[in-house]
């Protein structure tokens, strides 16, 4: 599938950015970057978090004004005073989290802000629906223009976002991590659409963390590091190692450092776990010191199953045994008390209570332990928080400052401290490295190995095959709410897992 065709490239770029700089108080987000986009070509923009990718997108779409540098379209310098100006010049962006409106129809979403008008200046509904239908047809999206957005799946919403981007006679299409929330099959559909856009001569800027995707879809690349463009060229002539070196400025040898850990006896046994609508008949055994990867397409019921294990939803059937004792989990309190914790996706949103002091966040899940005769013992909470702050090298002026004042990395440490403070036996990590850069990923993976070495059992939900294959001792695959199989790591390949997850036996 990953065939990079030798497309005859136009000699002159359709859009060129030269020496673009942009500063914010205290930060130089972009420092003289050069980017060129060619018609009919996909250019991948690669870089760690904070390398300046999002700022570049905002400069290109007229949301930010550059402090220095030129933007040239067809060789002529242009200046985008606002987002409307960039749109008129044919530059359009599909953002990571698509900004669409649930209660409006597909056609209204596509044409919001630039709806076709009748002679009286009113919205021409018939024309709008017809053009929306044509746009959706052009990208092979089987969606009715009359459908309400709230009834669509995430993948379908993406298609609507793409149709919206194309509704303005786009010449340059920017895609900011478009595959982050898509399953394997949906990514393939998206790539077919990108191929078609290429055929229509559009220049595409594709931002992604995933190398397999980049090599599959893009011809050219630009690498950003610390707000500078540190490399650009053709992917066919550049190896993955070389790009990784450009990104991090050093070579990353062990992306998945799963340490060898002696695996002990069974800790958690799940038998016939079922839910009325989301999953059915899940059975497996989790052993001490083991990392069990849980793979599947988005919507296969993995998160739903894990939430039931944690007591957020209740199963309709099935038994749980933890260290030989039968267990009924009716609420997260039960799960935490039994030693099962769940670290959800989007730790920013689900993780810390930002206005609360650090020590209160750390003790939040174990308030029962720091309460005497109905009153909280602040001294004990501080002791607890101090212990984990030291262990995780948490840097803060004081443990009484609100978590919201910390940097992102330190906030994450507070969240981890909260879970470790519950002294868990089983820790469920839902997409632990989604959307984070390579350096941080390695840190998370090292941390997981360490937890396993201490005798914890880990269930790792992940949609990234390299991570699943690199980190798991065993891999469990779910498909449409059912268990599709469990494999030992030795001799396991990606193809087996993808076949199990998609049902292509």
């Amino acid at each position: 599938m990953s065939v990079v065709e030798a497309v005859a490239e136009p000699a002159h770029p359709l859009l060129e950015m030269r020496g673009i700089s942009k500063s914010f108080p205290g930060v130089k987000a972009l420092d003289g970057v050069d980017v060129a986009l060619y018609a009919g070509t996909v250019t991948a923009l690669i870089g760690e978090n904070g390398a300046g990718k999002s700022t570049l997108v905002k400069v290109l779409t007229g949301i930010y004004q550059p402090d220095a540098g030129d933007i040239l379209v067809d060789g002529a310098p242009v200046r985008f005073a606002d987002a409307q100006a960039a749109m008129r010049a044919g530059i359009t962006a599909i953002h990571q989290e698509t900004v669409l409106f649930d209660e409006l129809t597909v056609a209204e979403n596509i044409f919001l802000g630039h709806a076709p008008k009748s002679r009286l200046g009113l919205v021409d509904w018939a024309a709008m629906r017809a053009r929306a239908g044509a746009l959706l047809h052009a990208i092979d999206a089987p969606i009715s223009p009359y459908a309400r957005l709230k009834d669509l799946s995430i993948a379908q919403r993406h298609l609507v976002a793409i149709a919206r981007a194309l509704s303005v006679e786009a010449r340059v299409v920017i895609m900011d991590e478009p595959t982050a929330a898509l399953s394997h099959k949906e990514v393939e559909d998206l790539f077919r659409i990108i191929e078609r856009l290429k055929g229509q001569g559009k220049a595409i800027l594709f931002i992604s963390h995933k190398f397999e995707e980049i090599y599959e879809i893009a011809e050219r690349f630009v690498v950003f590091r610390d707000g500078r463009s540190v490399g650009a060229g053709r992917l066919a002539e550049t190896g993955q190692d070389e790009i990784v070196r450009m990104m991090v400025g050093r070579s990353v040898e062990h992306v998945f450092p799963k340490a060898e850990v002696a695996i002990g006896g069974p800790v958690l046994e799940v038998a016939g776990y079922s839910h009325p609508t989301e999953f059915a008949d899940i059975s497996f055994t989790l052993r001490r010191g083991e990392i069990l990867g849980l793979y599947g397409l988005v919507g296969a019921g993995r998160s739903e199953f894990c939430q039931a294990l944690f007591g957020i939803t209740r199963p309709s059937a099935g038994r749980l045994t933890l260290e030989g004792k039968a267990l009924a989990i009716r609420s997260p309190q039960d799960a935490i008390a039994a030693g099962i914790v769940y670290v959800p996706e989007e730790r920013g949103r689900h993780g810390a209570v930002l206005p609360m002091p650090i020590f209160q966040n750390v003790s939040m899940a174990v308030l029962g332990r720091t309460t005497r005769a109905g009153f909280l013992r602040l001294a004990e909470e501080f002791t607890l928080a101090r212990r984990y702050a030291e262990r995780l090298d948490l840097r803060a002026a004081a443990l009484s400052v609100p978590v919201g004042t910390l940097s992102g990395g330190n906030q994450q440490k507070v969240v981890i401290a909260k879970w470790l403070a519950t002294l868990p036996k089983v820790i469920i990590l839902d997409e632990p490295t989604k959307g984070i850069d390579i350096g941080s990923k390695a840190a998370v993976h090292a941390f997981m190995s360490e937890l396993a070495a201490e005798g914890l059992s880990v269930i790792m939900v992940s949609s990234e095959l390299p991570e699943i294959l690199g980190m798991s001792d065993r891999v469990m695959v779910m498909r449409e709410g059912r268990l599709a199989g469990i494999w030992e790591r030795d001799g396991l390949d990606a193809e087996t897992l993808v076949r199990a997850a998609t049902g292509n036996a």
Binding site: L376, S407, G409, Q412
Partner: protein
Amino acid sequence: MMSRILKYRELLLGAIILALIAAFSLRAPGFATPRNLAGIFNDTSILIILALGQMAVILTKSIDLSVAANLAFTGMAVAMLNAAYPGIPLPLLIGAAMAIGAVLGAVNGFMVWIIGIPPIVATLGTLTIYRGLAFVLSGGAWVNQTQMTSAFLDTPRIPLLGLPLNGWTALLVIAVIAVVFMRTGFGRALYASGGNPTAALYAGIDVGRTRFFAFVLSGTLAGLCGYLWVARYAVAYVDIAAGFELDTVAACVIGGISTLGGIGSVAGAVLGALFLGVIKNALPVIDISPFWQMAISGLVIIIAVLFNARQERRKGRLILRDAARSPAPAAAEGAAA
């Protein structure tokens, strides 16, 4: 950093109140005498108690618009009880007021927690219903001073060290609420479930139940105030304290309780209520029309909200500076851990 701003903010509000008192006493000598100030505090007691109940609800990202209607109903109920059975001892009547208030609060909490009605809609409904019930209960009749016992009417007025028992009640409530909010699991749950409901859920805090008990607390305090109000004004009728629920919300907002939940202190809510109390008592003294009083409270609310919004923006910039200082903070994590 933020706690310093919060502390600073409460000090600022306290300073503004003192400056107002100083300014008013220039125009009206005798305004700043201990006797008059104790009078103002006593006069603001009911607002302080209600604002603390409202604060509990607002901390959980909710709002209780039914507090004044709850007060009117419970006030009417205990006044009628007192009139009909003068033999019932006062502590029992106060207990009954708090129990009735708690039940009405629980009705709000039940609708929000179990049925899932948005708090503003649920309590807007009960606001009307509770006043309607007060009408049904009384048949629209008043309970007058002459029908109530002197113990019922006069006990809150008994002075102790220069402050009537009414004021001491407010001080007691402030102390209890401060301990509950800062030193109990329920208090912590209030802040957590408003500050980040999802995080609270995953940490084993039952957000719905916390909200339910916040409404029960607000209702209980409204019930207590039902008695205090009727005793203070020596009359019970359907429309007492009409619109007073908005004063309680205003006191919270002025005191820095975030309407988005999870942020605010007991001191802030008390100072917010005192600010309104000082203005209300001072303006007539210096011959300013009560209409100005409303406009001034309104203006202060808007300024307080602007102040909050500016703090939020400053916080945003701070994060950006942090990110710049440590470009890959998470990378250190694995190495250190």
